[in-house]
C-alpha cells in the first residue's frame, strides 16, 4: 500500500520551554491504515499531529502528502477533529454541517453523514447541549463533511465513559472500512490496540518504539504478567524467572515461564489466593521502555 502521509525529522520547540516538544519525529502512514500516536499527556502527540495537519509550522523537518509538501489540496482532502474545539454559538449540528460543508469543493451528503456518525436526533440540537459522546460524534461528522482521504483524530475519546468510548471505536472502524486513512492520538493503550494497524509510542517528543501492536509486544517481550498483592509476593532465595515490578500495592511479574514462576513463588511461601494472570499490554511496554506509567 502506498504512503499517504510522511513526516521527516520534525522538530518543534515552544518559546521558553526547556526541551523540544517534538524532538526529531519521522513516520510514514500507509493509505487506508489507522496509525496511532500513543503516549502520556505532554509527550508531544498533539504538537506532532498539529504539525502533520499543517496547523503548526515545525522548526525543522517536513511533512509530505502523497509525496508533495502540504498545500491547498491537502486542506481539501483532510478532516480534523481537534482535542478541544469550540464551534460558533447558537448553531445547530445541521447548520454547522452545512456551514463547514460549504467551505469544501466536495462534500458528503447529510443523509450519509447522519448514518455514518449516528447523528439522527442530534441534527437539530445545539452542540453545546450534547453529552460528551454525542458531541464527539457531531465533531467527527464535521471532520468527515468533505469526505476526506485522511482523518486526524486527536484524543477523540478522552473524558468519555467506557460505553461511549466503545461506540466511538465502532464509528472509527466503519470510517476505516470506507478506505480512509486515520491518524489517531491517544493515551489509552487499549484504544490504540483496538483500532490501530500501526502504533508509534511517543515519549518526550521522540518515538521510542513503532510497529503493529502485536508485533511490538512480541518484539519487546513475549509472555504474560502475573499480578499479586505486594504483601503476598514472596520470592525464594533462588529468585523467580522474569522481571518483578512494583505498581502501587501490586507486584507484577513479567515472565515467559508461567509454570516455573508459579512453582518458585509457591516455594518462597507466597499466597496465590489473589493471583491474576493477564497478557502483556502496550501499557506494560511503555513502563518497560521508560520506567514510567503511561497515565501519570
Amino acid at each position: 500500500m502506498s504512503v499517504v502521509l510522511e513526516a521527516r525529522g520534525l522538530v518543534k520547540r515552544y518559546p521558553k520551554a526547556a526541551a523540544n516538544a517534538v524532538d526529531g519525529i519521522s513516520l510514514s502512514v500507509r493509505e487506508g491504515s489507522c496509525f496511532g500516536l500513543l503516549g502520556p499527556n505532554g509527550a508531544g502527540k498533539t504538537t506532532t499531529v498539529e504539525i502533520l495537519e499543517g496547523i503548526l509550522k515545525p522548526d525543522a523537518g517536513e511533512v509530505l502528502y502523497r509525496g508533495a509538501p502540504i498545500g491547498a489540496a491537502f486542506r481539501e482532502r483532510t478532516g480534523i477533529q481537534f482535542q478541544d474545539t469550540a464551534l460558533q454559538d447558537h448553531l445547530t449540528v445541521r447548520e454547522l454541517l452545512n456551514l463547514f460543508g460549504a467551505l469544501y469543493p466536495r462534500r458528503l451528503a447529510e443523509a450519509e453523514l447522519t448514518k455514518l456518525c449516528d447523528l439522527g436526533e442530534l441534527l437539530d440540537r445545539d452542540p453545546d447541549k450534547l453529552s460528551g459522546g454525542q458531541r464527539q460524534r457531531a465533531l467527527l461528522a464535521l471532520a468527515l463533511v468533505n469526505d476526506p482521504d485522511v482523518v486526524f483524530l486527536d484524543e477523540p475519546t478522552t473524558g468519555l465513559d467506557p460505553q461511549a468510548r466503545r461506540n466511538f471505536w465502532d464509528l472509527a472502524r466503519s470510517i476505516k472500512e470506507r478506505g480512509k486513512t486515520i491518524l489517531l492520538t491517544t493515551h489509552y493503550m487499549e484504544e490504540a490496540y483496538a483500532l490501530c494497524d500501526e502504533v508509534a509510542i511517543v515519549d518526550r517528543g521522540r518515538i521510542i518504539a513503532q510497529g503493529a501492536p502485536d508485533t511490538l509486544l512480541k518484539k519487546h517481550f513475549d509472555g504474560v504478567v502475573i499480578e499479586l498483592p505486594r504483601a503476598d509476593f514472596k520470592p525464594p532465595a533462588s529468585g523467580v524467572p522474569g522481571q518483578a515490578l512494583e505498581r502501587g500495592e501490586t507486584t507484577e511479574l513479567l515472565t515467559n515461564e508461567v509454570e516455573a514462576a508459579l512453582e518458585a513463588l509457591k516455594r518462597g511461601g507466597s499466597s496465590l489466593a489473589h493471583l491474576r494472570v493477564r497478557p502483556r499490554t502496550l501499557e506494560d511496554l511503555f513502563l518497560a521502555l521508560t520506567g514510567r506509567e503511561l497515565r501519570e
Binding site: 495537519e53 480534523i80 481537534f82 460558533q88 454559538d89 447548520e95 460549504a102 467551505l103 469543493p105
Partner: protein, 335 residues
C-alpha cells in the same frame, strides 16, 4: 470563494440573531440614549450665548468682546455662518468694522437678548447695522442625534467585531476554521459585512423609531445620510478588525478598544460642537474616524449638505477603511 464567504456570513448572522441578549441590547441601548438626551435637553439650549464672528475677534469693540457669558466663534465662511444663524446654532453673527454689521434671527429669543446686550456695550458706538434672517430652530436633539447614532455605531463596530474575533481565537473557533480551505480574507469579509448589516439595520430601526416621536429636522437627503453612516461604520468595523487581528487576550482587546473608543466618544463632537475648540484638540479630533462621520452626518442633517459638500470627510473615511482593512488582513492570525 463566494460560496465560502456566504456560508460564514449566514452562520455569523444566525449566531448573532439567536443571541437574544446581545440583539436586544444592540437595539434598546441607542433608543435609551436618544430619548434620554432628548428629554434631558428638551427646551434647553446651551447655556452660553454664541456669537459668530466673520473676521478677527480682536477687531471687535473691546467692551462687547469682553462681555461675560458670550462666546465668540470665528467663522470664515459668511454664507455658512448665516445658515447656522438661521438654524439657531448661532445666536448672532457679527462682521467687525465700522459700521459694525450684525445678523440676528427674528425667530430666536436668544438672538433678541444678545442683540440687546450688544447694544448696551461700546458696540453701540460702532454704528451697528442690523440685518435679519429667519428660520426654524434646530433643537439640540436634532443636532445631537447624528452624534449619538454615530457613537452607538462605534461601540457596536469596535466591540462587535473586535471582541468577537478575539473570543473566536481564544476558544479555538478560528483554529477549527483554519483547518478548512477557508481563506482569511473570505472569513474577515464575512465578519465585516455581517456587522455592517446589523449596524445599518439597528440604525434604521432606531432612527425611524426615534423620528416617529421626536420628528427630527433633517435638511439633507436620507439616502446621503445612509451612505455616510454605512461608510463610517465600515471604517469603524475595519478598525475593530485591525485591533483584533492578532490579539489573543480578551482583556487586552477590551483595553485597547476602550482606549480607542473613549477619547472618540468625548473628542469627536458627539456632545458639543468642536467649533472654537483649541487647535491642538481640533487636530486630535481630525485624526478620529468618528469626527468625520459625525461632521458629515450632522452637515446633512442640520445644514442640508450634499455628498459633494462633505466629500473631504468621505475621502478620509474611505482611505482609513482601506488602510485598516489592508493592515488588518495582512497581520491577521488564526491562532
Amino acid at each position: 470563494m463566494i460560496g465560502r464567504f456566504w456560508a460564514v456570513l449566514i452562520g455569523r448572522n444566525k449566531e448573532f440573531l439567536r443571541d437574544r441578549g446581545a440583539l436586544g441590547w444592540n437595539l434598546l441601548f441607542p433608543f435609551f440614549v436618544v430619548f434620554g438626551m432628548a428629554f434631558a435637553f428638551s427646551d434647553k439650549g446651551q447655556d452660553v450665548f454664541k456669537v459668530g464672528v466673520a473676521g478677527e475677534i480682536a477687531a471687535l469693540p473691546s467692551g462687547f468682546a469682553s462681555t461675560k457669558h458670550l462666546k465668540f466663534v470665528p467663522l470664515g465662511d459668511l454664507s455658512a455662518a448665516q445658515g447656522k444663524l438661521r438654524h439657531h446654532q448661532l445666536d448672532m453673527l457679527v462682521l467687525p468694522g465700522k459700521p459694525l454689521t450684525y445678523w440676528v434671527n427674528e425667530n430666536s429669543p436668544k438672538g433678541y437678548l444678545v442683540e440687546k446686550i450688544m447694544l448696551g456695550t461700546d458696540a453701540a458706538g460702532f454704528a451697528p447695522e442690523r440685518k435679519a434672517v429667519e428660520g426654524r430652530p434646530i433643537r439640540y436633539v436634532d443636532w445631537l442625534v447624528s452624534g449619538l447614532l454615530s457613537m452607538n455605531m462605534m461601540f457596536s463596530a469596535l466591540f462587535g467585531v473586535g471582541y468577537n474575533l478575539v473570543r473566536y481565537r481564544k476558544n479555538g473557533v478560528l483554529k477549527r476554521l483554519k483547518a478548512t480551505p477557508l481563506k482569511a480574507a473570505e472569513f474577515l469579509a464575512a465578519q465585516v459585512v455581517s456587522r455592517l448589516i446589523l449596524i445599518m439595520a439597528v440604525f434604521t430601526v432606531v432612527y425611524q423609531g426615534a423620528d416617529f416621536f421626536l420628528h427630527f429636522q433633517r435638511l439633507g437627503s436620507l439616502l446621503d445620510l445612509y451612505l455616510i453612516f454605512a461608510l463610517g461604520s465600515a471604517c469603524l468595523v475595519s478598525l475593530g478588525l485591525l485591533v483584533a487581528a492578532r490579539v489573543t487576550s480578551e482583556e487586552l482587546a477590551g483595553g485597547v478598544l476602550n482606549m480607542l473608543s473613549w477619547p472618540m466618544m468625548f473628542l469627536s463632537g458627539v456632545w458639543f460642537s468642536l467649533e472654537g475648540a483649541p487647535p491642538a484638540l481640533r487636530f486630535v479630533a481630525d485624526l478620529m474616524p468618528l469626527t468625520h462621520l459625525i461632521d458629515a452626518a450632522r452637515a446633512v442633517m442640520t445644514e442640508g449638505a450634499t455628498l459633494v459638500q462633505v466629500a473631504p470627510h468621505l475621502y478620509f473615511l474611505g482611505g482609513m477603511t482601506a488602510a485598516f482593512l489592508a493592515v488588518g488582513a495582512w497581520t491577521f492570525r488564526w491562532e
